[in-house]
Each structure stands twice: as C-alpha cells, then as structure tokens.
Amino acid sequence: MPVLEGAIIYANLIVLLSLGLTMTYITTAVPNFAQGSFAVFGSYVSLTLLRLHGLNPIYYLIGEPSGKEDFFKYIMTSIPISFVLGGVLGVLIYVLVLKPLIAKGAEVVMLMIATLAVDLILLGCLGAYAGYLGSITKKGAVKFIFTPYDINIGPTQGIFIVSILVILILLFSLFLLLYKTKFGVAMRASMENPSLAVIMGVNVEYTRIFSWFLSGGLAAVAGCLLPFRQEIVPATGSIIIVSIFAASIVGGLGTIYGALFGGYIIGISESYITYQLSTVFGPGILVYGKVISLVILVITLILAPKGLTGVRWRKIWRRSTSS
C-alpha cells in the first residue's frame, strides 16, 4: 500500500492506543505497560471471530454486497465485540491487580512494575491461546496477517477508509460522552480534581473503572485493525508499546488531547520518516523504525518536559510576534 496511506492507518491506531494510555494515567496514575498487549488481545479476538465464523471486520463496516443470510455476520463482527471484551479485560486488570495495590498506597514505580507483570502474563496467555486456536482450526494462529482479506475501495484500500471511519466515530462518541453527558462531565471533573468531585457527590471510583473500560476497549479496536497493516505475534504488544508511550508523552500526559497530537506525530513520522530514510540508506533501516519515535520523544522531553500540550503556545506566540 502507498506509504503515506500506511502511515496514516498506523497513526490512527496509535492514537486509539495512546488515548487509552493517557486516560488511565490521568484517572489512576498508572503508566500501563500492558497497553500494547491489550491491542494484541483485540487482534486475537478478531482472528478468532474470523477463523471460527468467517467474520471479516472490514465487511462489517463497508458492507460487502451479499445475501440477507450474511446480516448477522456483519452485526456480530470483531469491532464491537473486541471493544467490549477489551473493555472487560481493562476493568479486570484494574479491579483485580491495580486497585488493591493503589489502596495499599503503591507508588507509581510499583504500579508500573505491576503492569509489566500483567503484560508478561497476557503474553503467556495469548501465546497459549494462539497454540490452542491453531490446533482446533488446523491453521497457524501464532503468526498472522489480515492483508489478504482487505478489499479495494476505488483507488485505495478498505483498511484505510475503515481506520479513518473508526477513529472519527470513536472520537466523536468520546467527545459527546465527555462534553454532553452528565457522567462525562463528571469524568472530566474527576480527572482535574478527584477530591472536589467526591465533594460534589460523584463516585470517582466509577469514573476510574470506566476509564479502564474505555482504554481496554479502544486498545482492542486498534488491535483488531492492526493485523491489516502488520504481522501479529503474541509479543507484538511489547514492540508497539514504545510508540504508544512516545505518543502519549510527546503529546503530554496531562490531557487526553495530548494523545491525539502525539499519536499523529509519532505514528506518521515513525512510518513515513523511516521509509524516506530507507530510500537513501537502503531497506536495512526499516528495522529501526522505533528509533525515530524515541528520538522525537527525547527531543520533546528536552524542549518541553510536559509534552506539546503542556507548552504555553499563546505566550510563545505573543513573545515572537511582539519582538
């Protein structure tokens, strides 16, 4: 697929992942190193649906012309199912592992290590599940890619359109939730000042649990589109986590908009700049894509320790226009 298209698809998915990472960091102060594996969990959910039921997540949204008997195939496909299962996974991890640690007064470092442990456990479970799925379907499931299932829509790939639609729909829903519903306003209030939210009668714990649901759900949706762009193995999560963290930190961990900016900056530069470099230095360089993310991360941290949304742009703008 064309390079820029691929970069945009990848960036859309990184945005979904870093949105969740930033959200749970703001609400519960947990830097979740298992976020990448939450995505791979989504990939395996959609693989399962595909292998066991012949369901194709792309056809669900685009609508492949076919008979009425396929209706339920469309409805029951991977995006909504992954979202819900991913959300449940997020809630379980928070309630069973992190919340008890937070109640005992665990510091950020301890929570981080706990998520690393969760990541390893998920990796083990996904690996075991991949073996099991492979054995019952008699098709390899440890390594897979969905590109053969992609369809052409006009001059472009189905996954390009779908990833854009998915991100638009999810961002718009998130906006409606956070700005137009009472619970959403309560969530934003709890993010800014949890103790004041309690005083207003908000059960802040619900907003924390819900943020883990959203985070897990968004990650799994990203995971269910990711196999259309790259090969998935159970350990893929530990590779993409680098980009997710880079995106959240470059954007700024203080606000969820940070994840949007950071996600596009990291997602697009990582694939696009790496490609441009490879045309100069040869394809060997493609393996080092993550280095680009890390370089951007380091530069941002030096120039703007709070990330791009932490910079007071208005002040800088005023200073530069007045001088």
Binding site: K182, V185, A186, R188, A189, E192, N193, S195, L196, A197, V198, I199, M200, G201, V202, N203, V204
Partner: protein, 235 residues
C-alpha cells in the same frame, strides 16, 4: 443538626484533632476560629469524611454517619466548600453547576440552578466561560453557588473570604447571612477574619492546637477579656 462526640481525627499518622465535642445548631451560623494550623480545616474535613477519624463519632440529624462514604454525605445534605481548589478550573461555569447537581434528577437540578443563579445573578453573565479565567471573588461566588445547588441543609465554608479584596469579602459575608435566612441553612464558617465572623455568627468555637479552647456565644468570645490570650492558647 451535627454533633461530634470525642472526635479524634487527622491524616494517617498525623493526629490533628483531640476529643472534639461540638454541637452545630440548626439554622444558625457557627463560627470556627483559631490560629493557623490549629485544625479548623481538618475539623470540616473530619465532618465530611475526608480526614481519617481515629475514634469518636459524627452524628447528623440523629444518625451516626462516621462510616458513610464522603460522596454519600453530599446526598444526605451536607455541602462542604474547601479552602482552595473549590471549582473545576478546566470546566465552564455552567459545567461546574451541572456537576454540583450530579446527585439530582434533571427537573430538580433546573430548579436548584435557578435558585443558585438568583442568589448569584453575576454568574449568569459568564455561564460559558472556563472557571479558570474568573477572578478570585467570582470564583468564590461560583463555589458557593455550587453548594446551593447541592440542596444542602448544612453548608460548611472554609475561609470563603481568604485572598479576596475587602469589598468582595464584605459581599460574601452579606451573602452568608442572606443564605442562612433565605434557605434556612445551617452554616459552619471557618474564618481568618475573626471580628467579622463573630459579628455574623450566633455561636463560636475557638480551636487551639486541635483542642476546643472556647465554646459559646459569639459575642461572649468577642467580649472575652482574655480573648487575645485565648487565641494564642495561653489560657
């Protein structure tokens, strides 16, 4: 209205309040005064459940609420206005009011919002503005308005006039008296401005080093011959 019985409270291993017995009477203003660090804010937090209570009880309308979670105390009718950070600065004025009515149904919320805006008509002009851009006085108006929306019977104000210009402080003191009379509120007022607080209140508690140094009528405390010394904890 509210009783505390032999209340010992603080923050984990920092013991701040010792054996506080207090009686907050309905429809009156009770002033809580004392030097900095004497435990006035902690007293309000203990009543609201935001400080750790080691022993003793908090009774609200004959019910022991010592173990009720804080967010439920809001529903019972206790509104607490913290000393600092008492509005959500990233939210608009309107959203702040909305959150204040979190526990109410829609119809009731509209009614309460009307009441709050009638008490603070100034707020109508900047409903859409981010609260972080309000001046100190306006922010305090908003904070008290959010307490009104919460349909409270008891209003606990922690230094509502701190950092305000004398003019705004005076407006706030007037509003506090108005609120008591118009809404039959029971008010606990923690204040640095002891003179004004004792003027508008009926009853007063003087806290010194986490203990009650004086309890009685406000004018008694004001006229107390050893008032200065009491404040310094010398008696």
């Amino acid at each position: 209205m509210i009783l505390t019985q032999k209340l010992n409270a603080g923050y984990k291993d920092v013991h701040v309040l010792f054996d506080i017995n207090a009686t907050i009477e309905p429809n009156k203003i009770t002033a809580v005064v004392g030097p900095n660090g004497s435990g006035k804010s902690t007293f309000l937090k203990a009543i609201f459940g935001l400080a750790s209570v080691y022993s003793g009880n908090v009774i609200f309308k004959d019910n022991d609420i010592t173990n009720v979670p804080s967010h439920e105390r809001t529903k019972l009718g206790i509104a607490y206005l913290p000393q600092v950070d008492n509005v959500f600065t990233n939210l608009t004025v309107n959203e702040n009011l909305k959150i204040a009515g979190y526990t109410l149904d829609k119809k009731e919320f509209e009614v309460r919002k009307g009441i709050a805006l009638r008490a603070f008509p100034e707020l109508k002009d900047f409903l859409g503005r981010k609260s972080g851009t309000l001046s100190g006085g306006e922010r305090q108006f908003l904070a008290i308005a959010t307490a009104l929306i919460r349909k409270a019977e008891v209003l606990m104000l922690d230094e509502p006039t701190a950092q305000l210009s004398p003019k705004f402080a005076e407006i706030i003191f007037d509003k506090i008296v108005e609120l008591r009379d118009d809404f039959n509120l029971t008010i606990i007022l923690v204040e640095q401005n002891i003179t004004r607080a004792l003027e508008i209140s009926e009853k007063a508690y003087l806290l010194v080093s986490g203990r009650v140094a004086f309890e009685g009528k406000s004018d008694e405390l004001r006229d107390h011959e050893r008032f200065e010394k009491l404040c310094m904890g010398l008696v």
